[in-house]
Symmetry: C2
Subunit: 200 residues, 2 copies
């Protein structure tokens, strides 16, 4: 079918994972909804979050600490609220039950299935957003979100985001095993040699 | 319920969007499956991809161009294959129907619902991975993947990835409007002022 071109500024990742970034701004825990988040390094584990000129940045810059919390669908409305109002105008410290690990300026959300405290590893100023590369120091979850030694996305029950249509989406059915099903494609080609990163 | 801590190196984004990164290595189009991808800047639009020491990097470094292609579920096996074998051992240029926009070293995949050609805006060396910040130059899609002026994730029908359990997942049901539903949380708090980025 014929290809068309669309404006690059209207293209986002499909879908975006939805997290809540926590920071401590002037001694008040603040929370922001963020869909621009990614794992970016294997060893050590590093994550990136891209944040616009928002209130949250003050806390990250001041303490070089922040948190990434993965909300489940029951927290969708509260998460969306965190994305609608600025901590400069509304105190968001009462929305969630907050706890702390070793990093006292990385407020964690008890209701979230997964909460990660991070220290800033590197800061990259982009033309509009700031890209914070964070190194996770502690990861908190609960037994009920695990299957074996691994977090289980169906137990976590997170939601995802699309833009610019602005919709939230559930996780659908399991489609099969990654870094595995592609072996069947190789029948008429050379033998594959797995190149996936190991987690050792 | 009681919190437990898990090893930070076993934590990834839930879920990861799955894309195919294309590059031109020694005059041969090469493709790699990548789940570490994110939009990172509003104006201009910028995307990040975090890539380990793989064959793909040679092409990106040589030409400062690459592509991001969003595969649908019908391409899941081929995508997985691209993640299992290295372009240093297998010619992956015959897997897909390739086309080009203005960037002649950013091979695009015709079968993918969305194909983006990018120039390298910035390169960030992390301890293991390299984070390429790319600026999209052209975005190709087809009318059948659009609803109005927006890409429609249910028409695109992409799949997502979880690690370290290594599973692919479909997109589930629509859960409601983003940057909107949180307004109902504000009944007992102050009036919200939308802080979402505009797309001007």
């Amino acid at each position: 079918m014929e290809k068309i071109t669309i404006n690059p500024k209207t293209v986002f990742v499909h879908p975006m994972p939805m997290v809540i970034v926590g920071s401590m701004v002037n001694d008040t825990p603040n929370f922001m909804a963020v869909g621009w988040v990614s794992r970016v390094n294997m060893k050590p584990p590093l994550f990136s979050v891209a944040i616009g000129p928002h209130h949250t940045i003050q806390g990250i810059e001041a303490h070089k600490e922040f948190s990434i919390n993965i909300p489940d669908v029951s927290l969708m409305e509260k998460t969306d609220y965190c994305g609608l109002v600025s901590g400069s105008k509304v105190d968001k410290s009462k929305i969630f039950d907050i706890f702390y690990g070793e990093l006292k300026n990385a407020p964690l959300i008890r209701e979230c299935p997964v909460s990660i405290s991070l220290t800033v590893f590197q800061t990259i100023s982009l033309p509009y957003n700031t890209l914070y590369i964070g190194q996770p120091r502690e990861v908190f979850t609960e037994e009920r979100y695990m299957t074996g030694n691994s977090l289980d996305i169906k137990k976590i029950n997170p939601f995802t985001l699309t833009m610019p249509d602005n919709n939230y989406w559930a996780i659908g059915e399991n489609l099969g095993n990654a870094w595995s099903m592609g072996r069947s494609y190789t029948s008429d080609t050379k033998q594959p040699e797995p190149s996936g990163e190991d987690l050792e």
